[in-house]
């Protein structure tokens, strides 16, 4: 081990503790214990790999700690095919066999997208090591955890051993954010702007740590947007080290009553570099086809016609997002020739949006409100695009074929830009619409 010099980042502290070291530094290889291991429908593949590990060993295939496994059905709910339904059935049997309690089935009370369920239920706390068989597992850094995406075989290994094998402690890029967001400008614009600066691989193998007064004042909902999309710059993880807002969220919204241990970065921690962003001057931005780093101010693409508008996903399907979009479409109508689809990120959000009248605002405007889940985001079972069509969406990826058709285009934006565009049928600056 190297000599301890200088301070440590939050991620270095989390990994040191989880691997039983006094301290670790970027570049060290560690084996952190896993505090939470999340999968969705792809648990079906994890189960296959998990069983294969035990084959011929004479040992019983039992997960190391079922209470630390979370499985949430969200990608294809309700099942779009017999194949998915059969996979889900297989996962249910595994869940029952091993007594996995953090299981969220296709339900209108406790269902939803994995990256919303984990924070919402208080499953993630500051200082945890979270792995998930989903690239947007980076989301959970918003609660001050070190959270990263892995493949199914790696998850099977974690289920067997309870550790993440051979993890190289990543270097950290600090993103210091100052200033106040203007009207209809928010965290989605900030993260798209940052990805535009860094490029789609600019943070490969790095952690993005968000700091500064703007972040301190940002809700957990907004922080989730930043950490969720950190992976679109290639980052292993995004993190907002836990603070007063994290405690507020866990206590008041997630109903978490256990102890909370905030892990923060030392002032003299080593960062690879610091990116400074003043959001006061930020405009609404849009990521243009077919890469997330193809970011332009909304003014540069305003007027482009769109046949579909999507509000939702693990990025922007939370109550704040629905509130902003509903306020824009309230009393107005979705343009002729444009379809507007709304899919809240969880059943809990769905119910709240119903109570607050957002869902009737959407429906009266002509939008289709769908069940909580991933919906059209990954182009699997609903809301596919036709040949040559374009969509503007609050989701996080615009890769060719992402929304089900390689012959279509996806633009990514904030809920405000998407909602304003639904009313006009063309990409629209929300500051001009209202």
């Amino acid at each position: 081990m190297k000599k301890k010099t200088g301070g440590a980042t939050a991620v270095e502290k989390i990994l040191a503790r989880a691997s039983g070291n006094e301290f670790v530094r970027a570049g060290d290889v560690v084996e952190p214990r896993v505090d939470l291991a999340m999968s969705h429908e792809n648990a079906a593949l994890v189960i296959n790999q998990f069983k294969e590990i035990f084959e011929g060993t004479g040992r019983v295939a039992k997960p190391w700690d079922p209470s630390r496994i979370a499985i949430i059905f969200d990608h294809r709910v309700p099942a779009e095919s017999a194949k998915t339904a059969t996979n889900q059935k297989k996962v249910r049997a595994f869940v029952a066999e091993h007594g996995i309690t953090k299981f969220h089935d296709v339900r209108g009370d406790v269902g939803g997208i994995c990256h919303q369920i984990l924070p919402e239920r208080g499953y993630v706390q500051p200082g945890m090591v979270v792995v998930g068989t989903d690239s947007h597992t980076t989301s959970h850094g918003a609660l001050g955890a070190f959270a990263f995406g892995i493949g199914a075989t790696e998850m099977a290994s974690a289920w067997a051993l309870g550790v993440a094998l051979n993890i190289e402690v990543p270097r950290t890029i600090r993103v210091r954010v100052t200033g106040r967001f203007g009207k209809h400008v928010g965290p989605k614009d900030l993260i798209l702007h940052l990805i535009g600066i860094l490029s789609a691989q600019g943070a490969n193998f790095r952690v993005l740590e968000f700091t500064g007064e703007t972040i301190a004042n940002l809700s957990t909902s907004g922080r989730l947007v930043l950490c969720n999309m950190s992976v679109e710059a290639g980052a292993t993880a995004g993190i907002v080290p836990g603070d007063a807002e994290t405690v507020r969220y866990l206590r008041e919204e997630a109903g978490f009553t256990g102890p909370i241990d905030l892990v923060t970065s030392d002032p003299n921690a080593t960062y690879e570099r610091t990116v400074e962003i003043d959001v006061s001057a930020l405009e609404p931005v849009v990521a243009c086809p077919h890469t997330v780093d193809n970011v332009k101010p909304v003014s540069a693409v305003a007027g482009k016609s769109v046949q579909q508008v999507v509000i939702g996903s693990c990025t922007n399907g939370r109550l704040e997002d629905l509130a902003e979009a509903a306020a824009i479409v309230r009393g107005k109508h979705v343009a002729e020739g444009t379809r507007m689809l709304v899919f809240p990120a969880s059943a809990k959000i769905w119910a709240e949006a119903l109570k607050l009248g957002y869902l009737s605002d959407f429906m009266a405007a002509g939008a289709v409100v769908m069940n909580a889940g991933c919906g059209p985001c990954l182009g699997v079972h609903e809301g596919a695009l036709g040949d040559g069509e374009a969509a503007i969406s609050t989701t996080n990826r615009n890769f060719k074929g992402r929304m089900g058709n390689p012959g279509a285009e996806v633009y990514l934006s904030s809920p405000a830009v998407a909602a304003a565009s639904a009313l006009t049928g063309v990409i629209t600056d929300p500051r001009k619409e209202s």
Partner: protein, 179 residues
């Protein structure tokens, strides 16, 4: 436990002369490699048929079973970005191809190593379909274009997994070592 056999992943130099069957640009996403609509298909025996499902020319080769063992898929920067779906690695592993790219996205690279898909990082690498490729020592040579590129070693943190012949074997060994 007997010593696990070495994976070929660690030694691209052992490969003989081969050809590029598919050449792609930067940011090849896992959506392109293995479209989301096939995510319910998980078996490594079934995923190869769906590799680059929306790429008609490549699909024709897959259907005709005319992809030679060790053929090269050439990529630019950030190959395998996006979704963590392991099918993107398992489908290519099943076709027994080698992916040579200027750089790889983290999760895809790890999935490849975990499953034993051969991946080679060669900054600056460029090749067109049909080009002849040779792996030699620490480098990769494009014989057709008369260009050569250095190979960046795989992350050292993952070497023990490569040496074990993949993550299943590695985890099994670790499991058996536990009391």
């Amino acid at each position: 436990m007997a010593r696990a056999k070495k994976s070929e992943t660690a030694k691209p130099r052992k490969l003989e002369s081969t050809r590029v069957i598919l050449s792609l640009g930067d940011d090849v996403s896992t959506d392109l490699i293995y479209p989301g609509r096939f995510m319910a298909t998980v078996l490594p025996t079934e995923t190869p048929a769906l590799a680059f499902a929306d790429h008609p020319a490549f699909q024709a080769l897959v259907k005709a079973k005319s992809i030679p063992k060790g053929a090269v898929i050439a990529g630019g920067e950030n190959f395998g970005c996006g979704s963590s779906r392991e099918q993107a690695a398992s489908c290519l592993k099943g076709l027994d191809v080698v992916v040579v790219a200027r750089s790889f996205a983290r999760i895809f690279l790890q999935n490849a190593i975990n499953l034993g898909l051969k991946v080679v990082t060669a900054p600056g690498f460029a090749a067109d379909e049909g080009d002849e490729i040779v792996f030699e020592g620490g480098g990769v040579e494009n014989r057709t274009k008369r260009t050569a590129f250095d190979i960046v070693p795989l992350p050292r943190a993952r070497q023990s997994i490569i040496d074990a012949g993949g993550l299943i074997a590695f985890t099994r060994t670790r499991l058996m070592a536990k009391a």
